[in-house]
Symmetry: C2
Subunit: 200 residues, 2 copies
DNA sequence: TAAGATATTGACCGAACGTTCAGTATAGAA
DNA sequence: TTCTATACTGAACGTTCGGTCAATATCTTA
């Protein structure tokens, strides 16, 4: 590995990290290329040397982030025995990994905005379905083990997704402790509800 | 009332309606003044004759929408007897009133964007606390009537808010029937959870 | 060390957007 | 009818932003 290649890789990393941080914090549109380069100390042209476009940079981050997230989850998953524990673990990872998944806020802008490329559109649709599939598996496991009631799994996966998206928005300006507490309470509610006794 | 004053009022209404529709559909930033005027048939200058600025227009819509929402709720509230029914009614109104509250998406951009005026910031903070207060009341009523378990009310209000925000995002591209179904399921889960039996 | 590949710079471009303003049309007052 | 306040128009302005490019610096290789 060259000295040049190493430094080039470091630059790429620095840009990606700064961009991810800003996208999460401010959203996609509200984050300008100039802000990203200002945060890295390098120049605008250099960013365009390493990444094709703003969209390309964002897409790169989406892929990277998703890979990391799944990898971290696979590491921890076997530590949890019950499906309920997995749910709490799931929530905790959501909070600790920068308080939200890129899908949550920044990607949502893409869904609504009308200026999205086909490539981006496809990739996002894919990620959403991956997300829902992840949630379905989580719920299915609980049903199989007898922990959860038989129910509309696809619907529940959507509700869980909604809960997670909403939580990340509500918690964006909260500190880690508060966020963790809210997430845990939310999962508790998701599992047990707030009604005094379940209808049988 | 003059003929002129009437027409002026109608223009104002037409602009406000078109703007609300677009803001809800596309978000705040993604909606341009030009689009709004194109949808009304009147001119850019005319919009600025009736409203101070884009922000001012948005603020006007927030106030108006909030008033309408609360008024409609007060109309229906007495029809529901149990707190659980109120929850479902709450969800239904959320869906029917254009699939979301302006707070949900467009206003969220303000929270994150750094270009907000103090006036807007204050008004939004006020509205959030009103929202949470509304949720608290709803939950408190259920506890008082013995329907809901005693619990961290402020936390639950936040979770409910997160759920509602998330639902509106997840349902934005769904039709009314689907959305209603998802919202109902979500409230069901919020009330009863998904666990096979509650921990006692 | 010379030549060439690679990495970085920052001025610049065109498009989009919010906002302004000089000017026009119209309804009611005199 | 004439005058005036109100309602409305659309070209133009200043700014912001994503993206480009010719020039330059830095490192590798021969």
């Amino acid at each position: 590995m060259n000295k040049k290649q190493i430094q080039s890789g470091q630059t790429r990393r620095k840009i990606a990290d700064a961009a991810r941080h800003l996208f999460v914090q401010k959203g996609y549109k509200a984050t300008s290329i100039e802000e990203i380069t200002a945060a890295t100390g390098s120049s605008k042209g250099n960013l365009y040397y390493h990444f094709k476009s703003k969209e390309g940079l964002f897409l790169y981050l989406l892929d990277e982030w998703d890979r990391d997230w799944i990898a971290k989850w696979r590491e921890k998953e076997h530590l949890y025995t019950t499906a309920a524990e997995k749910m709490y673990g799931f929530a905790e990872q959501m909070v600790r990994e920068d308080l939200n998944h890129p899908l949550t806020k920044a990607a949502d802008e893409f869904f609504i905005g009308d200026d999205k490329t086909c490539e981006v559109e496809d990739r996002l649709a894919e990620m959403v379905s991956e997300h829902l599939s992840f949630n379905r598996t989580l719920i299915q496991q609980g049903i199989d083990s007898g922990e959860f009631r038989e129910n509309d799994i696809q619907g529940l996966a959507l509700v869980l997704e909604a809960l997670v998206i909403g939580l990340s928005q509500v918690s964006r300006r909260a500190d880690l402790t508060q966020a963790l507490q809210t997430y845990r309470l939310a999962i508790e509610v998701f599992l047990h509800g707030i009604a005094a006794r379940p209808e049988t």
